[in-house]
């Protein structure tokens, strides 16, 4: 039975953060994405792999903008991307003949496994999906996709987060490693 009462959303939205917080979120995500984008433009490939930047853009919101969130911790950032990349590649290799099915399996299975391993990281869903819909250049990588660009990109983003998020007195990152 559909509950319209539940849809009213009687709660309150959290307060807006301070301008200092906004500033450091901007700096962190600028540096983090610059590093990953540069690496992929100059070192890797100019075509399909760039799609993964989309996934890292989502990660940037969390690890530079909501650094206290459990979803933004190193375990989730690295674990989420690596696990989802692996699932995505596997889904394409097994079910690539039916791309719609491979895409759905990749994302849903990634979410389930991220939950089970306590590595839930929303951009992981994009990482899994891109392994399926990313085109030939991604497909040719095979499981290399897990290491490069997924794991390496996440690692670069993490290093930037560890540096930038610990510069201001009011910030501390991470909350936990494992």
């Amino acid at each position: 039975m559909i509950s319209f009462e539940k849809m009213r959303g009687n709660g309150q939205s959290p307060p807006r953060v301070s301008l200092v917080e906004v500033f450091w979120s901007w700096v962190g995500s600028f540096v983090g994405i610059a590093a990953v984008a540069l690496m992929q433009y100059k070192l890797v490939d100019q075509t399909g792999l760039l799609m993964l930047i989309g996934s890292f853009g989502a990660s940037a919101v969390l690890i530079y903008g909501a650094i206290r969130s459990p979803l933004a911790q190193p375990r989730n950032l690295l674990g989420g991307h690596i696990l989802s990349a692996f699932i995505g590649v596997t889904a394409f290799q097994w079910l690539g003949g039916q791309p719609w099915l491979a895409a759905a399996v990749a994302v849903s299975t990634s979410i389930a496994l991220m939950h089970l391993t306590k590595t839930l990281h929303p951009p992981g869903g994009a990482t899994a999906l891109i392994a399926v819909i990313g085109g030939d250049s991604v497909h040719h990588l095979g499981y290399l996709y897990v290491v490069m660009p997924a794991a390496s990109g996440a690692a670069v983003m993490l290093i930037v987060a560890l540096i930038v998020n610990n510069i201001p007195k009011t910030r501390k990152y991470p909350e936990f490693w494992l």
Partner: protein, 201 residues
Amino acid sequence: MSEANDRFCSPIDISELDILAAMKDIQGYIDISPGDFKEVFQVAYSHAVHRLMDARKAGDIMTRPVHCVELGMDLVQTATFLADKGITGAPVVDADGRIAGVVSEKDFLARMGIGTSHSFMQIIAHCLHNKGCMATVLRNHAIQEIMTTPAITAGPEITIGAISALFIDRQINRLPIVDTDGRPVGIVTRTDLVQSYCITR
């Protein structure tokens, strides 16, 4: 813990406005809605209350040694004993030292009393109205005539949460703690219980 006790110990009713104010005081984006936080707080509070209620046991907080009166003492001796020790009640033990009942002010008042509430003030009022004291009716009676039996007792392992529930449910002020043979080893009074909560410090 009884439901009655849970009701009295319900958590401070923090409002979502309090939570919003706290979230503003703390730097950074906190990834939880005020409503969710409130729910977490209330459940956590209830866990904390139960943990504290289970953490301490009668053996940790009871007064010992316990002053006992003996079966066979008359009421004059009993009243004198309680007055000397500065206490308002005590376990009653038999010749083997096993608990046979509990005697307290309430039992004396009930014996002297008129009406149903048996309060000390009622006795005072009655004495003043009648130009005489009613305590004389207590002479030549033995303790077993007025003591409360059977005694409500517990072992040293009972938690302070369970003791609180007993005090409220059974309307008692003291709980003799007995060993496996039924011999008193200590007593938990309301004062002991209040001190065990550390609220007054």
